[in-house]
Symmetry: C2
Subunit: 391 residues, 2 copies
Amino acid sequence: MLKDIKIGCASSKTKYGTRFDTSIVKLEKEAIWSGLFTSNKFKSAPVEICLEKMNKNIAEPKILMVNAGNANAATGKKGKKDSEKLIEDVSFLLNVSKDNILPFSTGVVGELLDTKKLSQTFKKCTDQLGKNSWEDFANAIMTTDTRHKIVKKVFKLGNQKINVIGVAKGVGMIEPNMATTLSFIFTDLKLSKIQLKKLHRDICDQTFNAISIDGDQSPSDSSIFATTSEIKSDFKKYHKKIKNSFFEVFKELAEKMVLDGEGATKLIKIKVSGLSSYAASKKVALKVANSPLVKTAAYGEDPNWGRIITAAGNADVKEFDMKNLSLKIGVHPVLVRGNLSPKYSEAQGKKEFRKKTINIEINLGKSKHTALIMTSDLSPEYISINSDYRS
Amino acid sequence: MLKDIKIGCASSKTKYGTRFDTSIVKLEKEAIWSGLFTSNKFKSAPVEICLEKMNKNIAEPKILMVNAGNANAATGKKGKKDSEKLIEDVSFLLNVSKDNILPFSTGVVGELLDTKKLSQTFKKCTDQLGKNSWEDFANAIMTTDTRHKIVKKVFKLGNQKINVIGVAKGVGMIEPNMATTLSFIFTDLKLSKIQLKKLHRDICDQTFNAISIDGDQSPSDSSIFATTSEIKSDFKKYHKKIKNSFFEVFKELAEKMVLDGEGATKLIKIKVSGLSSYAASKKVALKVANSPLVKTAAYGEDPNWGRIITAAGNADVKEFDMKNLSLKIGVHPVLVRGNLSPKYSEAQGKKEFRKKTINIEINLGKSKHTALIMTSDLSPEYISINSDYRS
């Protein structure tokens, strides 16, 4: 699959013993890419550099370089110079324009990179190019993930087979300071730059941007969607199938991220519908997903629906009207347009909250705009992991 | 103190054994009041009724009636009728216009009131009027608060003694579904309605609205500031002293609330300055205060400042610029205008995080607008309390 993409991994032998923690991915010159980055105003040096380069790349081979263990964030001017220095080294070694090299760093915040060591390790990656597997790459970008995250998919457009491979790292927070997510999704279906960007933005909005563990974006969150442009097809004719197929890959990666959040014992799916826009519905769903009271109730298997609607009511959405609010836990109506459902019993809610996946549905009106947000519960293990990690 | 205010308390003998859980406070006809209520779009029935009545009251005696144990929230049309029925009973018993009676309920969400029992209990309160103390009242409004919250203050304006008494209930969340705060502050200094309202709004904004435990407002949050209008003074001449004196009472009550948050082991003070408005600075401070990663780090005494600036960077404030960000932990500069301070050491941060009160200071520019937010840490006890409460 996607044999035109070459992977090289190596170990810096620092934080993670001899495990791979450094990688280079090389795409041929026909490749094009789209990048989406954190909305946090505090951005890591690599993210700042990516944002500058994203639209500059020319028809030459393209390089992604990733190191795990140090996010190079909150490192000021020196941090940016360090990343630029490493790009320069790789540019020289692989004879690729600096504008075609994107850097990614994930790990601890506020420490300068060990550029000498990383320079040597990236050198090893270039020597290894083509010798490492997708699984090696998925392992090499992990920080505190408990398992690597990789999704492979083949789908057909007419007689042609289209390949997609997605690799991501998620939401572990023991060693890095926050929930950095990195994702790299590759396909061989030829797409225009505009098609690629639009697909990337639309799909991310409903997958990576529709999961929430701690409620906020890290300084390093990055997603790259790239095509090697090998296989031509009729985009208009197959548009729906193309979008759905890519969507599946992004969604599976997103679910893997949530379920690997530390201390997670539950997957909570919050569906909000009925408001006049997707954005408004999403705002309400995110408020519920980020409520520590809802998350602790989920952990305790307590169908404490008062907390759900309290969180919802705090969303900054003007059209929100309690009199229109209906709430379901699983299939059971709890509130029907603002009034208690006489059919609901605590035992029904309890049964739903005992499940591994808890489904919560809120309706606030007649519109069909529906937002789905996934999150995890908040467990004592979350606290012990996040309070102890440097001691 | 404030002898013109009569208090009557009783026990419904339901949730809290024989402890007082129901109260009536009676103010004479010269009294005026100001009310501020939750910004949550989901409001309890009593809050909805208060909002309707706030500007209606006439020159007659005025009544506050409070029950603890059931918030009468998410109870729809029936809930509102129930509260109105109880008001009617008290109106009849005390011969006071219904428009002059404000109801307050705090406790569990989504259960209908036992109006029969409550009606009898409020009757007992009316029989008791004048026989109970401020301490009785402070006890009777508690839900899961571990101690009552009361602040008494006397200050002088020229030769006159001004009395202030503030009573509040806070942030316990075991039994009610959320962090309902109720506060009742009384003085004998005559103020115009406009003066009273403005003082109330300004002071609340920097006290009760500047503390954050779970990040959101409950459907029941209410604050009443009332004067018996007994003592006349020169408001203009003493304006600053008047404001500061009331501010102290509100602030002390707010601090008592934070320190009584369940599982709280630390008081975290977050000061943000330098942005072009108080509101912008407050937004950034609230993002830091509500970050579960910052709160768990505080619990673990880990000076994990990467989490602090990550949370700050997620605030929806356009003028936020990482290059202007300076961060101090205690007195120690960590970042100076976006760059690592060479003087900072992990040991300095650790020392500050070991203290009972952790001070965090963020500066983002040259303006003098400063917001101070107080919050508590996030401990395993918080989770166990909030996940177990109904089992």
